[in-house]
Symmetry: C2
Subunit: 191 residues, 2 copies
């Protein structure tokens, strides 16, 4: 297990919320081509690699894929209700598409596909997300097989460069900012 | 009550979550001067005015205040756990500071201050948020009186221009995009 300091806290929060499905939902902010913020709920799919990346499953037809290509910086905001902790994870997004040449990333993409629920996999077979819904659109499709990802399925990695941790329990609240240069450094700041 | 279509849905969600404190927490994304997304949890403080603005309480020493001055566009992401609905509210932020000349906005600012809990008001008396925490920093201060807002207390309004509504219940899920030009229009899109 990595000893990255904020990751120790995050894994502890996940463990304490292991029975709460929604605790794996967080909000990911990106920037649109019109230079406006976009913000949506995504599902945390685990960690990847030695840079403590967070994994998400995305459809390469979704708008965030275009946004990542233009501006890879993102900030995820993750609030844990039971422990009243907030993690703001700022960093770079990496998109792993079907044609990625890195064998490890391809393997991670395939594993993520296999770990999806049937309902989650089915969504990748639906019509183009965000486009006008056709009256005769068919959503009652067979679930795509788990062996091989559909071509539009991508793994999205968030590589954290700064983590702003706020713990609302206690008076005053405690807030730490972790920053990565060579390694991770930390400073305590006013809440 | 406004008959703005997405607002009817949002008020219904709030009503169904009225006993859940965290249901009033949402994530607000802005853009930093370095052109990176910033994303943090904010507390919904009610609606304002005939443009269906959302109210938030902010400290004018916080970084988002500088961000709003440079780029007022924001997107709030609000996920309701019990009904499995997501509202993505994209629009313009308006900051109401102590020197705002509009009497109605000043009144709204004062009312918002008075509606804060003691703990929330106290935070505006603390040292500069996000700055390194001094060893001798004093957080055990008296609660500021509720009559008159501290000078650094601001009301922040989000004026929605587009609302992307997703309801995860049902197969397929339902998704509608509401856009404001003269009035509000709606289109149904693929989830």
């Amino acid at each position: 297990m990595s000893d990255t300091p904020w990751l120790v806290l995050l894994k502890k929060s996940l463990e304490r919320h292991r029975n709460i499905t929604e605790a794996r939902y967080l909000q990911l902010a990106t920037i649109t081509p019109e230079n406006r913020p976009a913000n949506r709920t995504v599902v945390f799919r685990g960690f990847y690699g030695d840079k403590d990346c967070l994994k998400f499953a995305v459809d390469n037809r979704s708008r965030k894929v275009y946004q990542v290509a233009l501006q890879p910086w993102a900030e995820a905001c993750w609030y844990f209700t039971q422990t009243r902790e907030q993690f703001r994870l700022s960093g770079l997004l990496h998109l792993v598409e079907a044609n990625n040449a890195d064998i490890n990333l391809q393997q991670a993409r395939q594993t993520s596909w296999q770990e999806l629920s049937d309902n989650a996999r089915l969504q990748f077979a639906w019509d183009n997300p965000g486009q006008p819904r056709a009256e005769d659109a068919d959503f009652a499709l067979p679930v795509p097989p788990s062996e091989k990802p559909l071509a539009n399925f991508c793994l999205l990695l968030l590589e954290p460069m700064q983590v702003d941790y706020l713990n609302l329990v206690g008076n005053p609240q405690n807030r730490y900012i972790y920053s990565r240069y060579d390694g991770w450094s930390v400073k305590e700041v006013n809440p």
